[in-house]
Assembly symmetry: C2
Homo-oligomer: 309 residues x 2
Amino acid sequence: MTVVGSIAFDAVKTPFGSRDRMLGGSAVHFALAASFFDDVHVVGPVGEDFGPDEYAVLEARGVGTGDIERVSGGQTFFWRGEYGWDLNDRETLETQLNVFAEFEPKLSDASRAADVLFLANIQPELQREVRAQCGSARFVALDSMNLWIETARDSLVEAISEVDCVLLNDAELRQLTREPNFVRAARSVCEWGPRVVVAKQGEYGASMLTEEGFFALPAFPLETVIDPTGAGDSFAGGLLGYIAAHRDGELDHALLTRAMAYGTALASFNVEEFGVERVARLTSEQISERVAELQRITHFVEKPIALRG
Amino acid sequence: MTVVGSIAFDAVKTPFGSRDRMLGGSAVHFALAASFFDDVHVVGPVGEDFGPDEYAVLEARGVGTGDIERVSGGQTFFWRGEYGWDLNDRETLETQLNVFAEFEPKLSDASRAADVLFLANIQPELQREVRAQCGSARFVALDSMNLWIETARDSLVEAISEVDCVLLNDAELRQLTREPNFVRAARSVCEWGPRVVVAKQGEYGASMLTEEGFFALPAFPLETVIDPTGAGDSFAGGLLGYIAAHRDGELDHALLTRAMAYGTALASFNVEEFGVERVARLTSEQISERVAELQRITHFVEKPIALRG
């Protein structure tokens, strides 16, 4: 697997605590989650402030860091945000692009040979460049955000037409398609090319539309949610990781529904602590247990009854 | 079954159309949905403007109207509201309590003998009066709203302590318990007495906490949503109707999960057209088909895989 996206230091404040400067970024959250399933290569720039401690977190999970470009004299991408009591509401207080402003993705042969590619939330033009470099990828997925919908919609639609799967927050999906109804919005995106559309719904879970139909999964119910930052990328890491781990056999609806469950499980761990703290010390057993529990809490057995009229 | 709640004329405007004066009210939406499962008696006041056409809608579905109190010289409860593009956002423009202002519930012997009782969203003190009159009810559920949480919280908590099941919008559940986390909020309510708590999450579905654990179900995905008014009461009608239809056997978690599915199905029909228009001409077959489809779109089969680390 290859992921291109941000590698960041995040400053986050939630009602439950804060961190001034912690490892973050979409590519990092994705890679740590995906590392439970298959080899992952991270592509993205960092500055000189990105040191051995940060590399160590990735390498401890076996993540390939060879395509992390360390820019001399540069500073790593920095994001500062705050969450309110309703953790679905988040305010960005500061964004320093730093080395990301001049980023031109350069992929090694190993990264280019990826079977599964995730284009995390970066400029659509960069996503297209990377996609073009990974010609042999069996499954390519893309994330984006309101900024690109507002400032680079045409590029984004082009980028979407070149991938197999789009993951967006449901509000972004509606904004992108100018269609308030999720089902219609997802169908619109499928008409542009992708065969899978996933709407991320935060604490409510996620929904998916494939050629074979619809699937929806609630989020895993947690008593403790500390920091939602990176949940969407951990979700993508679990989802695409599961797909990458199934090289043989058809990538059908049933497999994708299981992939959604693994994505949901990884996202649920991500939010239990700040940044990557929880996922960095996660175990396989904990993931498997949570997926099994997720099945129990979403499963009902229909028993037909005699209705009146 | 017996339901006490509002019987109303509603004026509703949505981005997809409007109605100036249509049959509505929590007891009406509940009763029509529940009528597919068992006998239902409606308890509530109407004015002289409530005529044969309105009675006919209820009677066509076999709903017992004997405890609808027609107040001489009175006007029926009237509500006017408008929905924005995001149908989760609703604004109340006008509320005329009319005959509801002086309402004192008087239940016939048939209504008092109810096996299942739904206390729709009315003043908590009235809910308690009705609950006291239905001593033999096997299962009693209660709905409420932000108004009573803000103006009559102590009464509401008392009323809750006397029922088996609470249904609330998830924002109301958080407001009531002053607990932003749904799982903790639901546990708090269970500590007051009820053994089942259902959080209605609008277009995202519904979650339930019972003594045996958690259950969550997404809403049925619809391409056409016209008017959400009454969806929560239709949900309650399907849920409690399913319970009422199962007089024998234990009211266990598995049965409640199926009841959630029927509630979800009834709510999904409710929103497809204005007011009661869709549910009034619904058929048993359509309900059964939708529950089966709901199972398909929420079901995944876990297949354990070898994870790394």
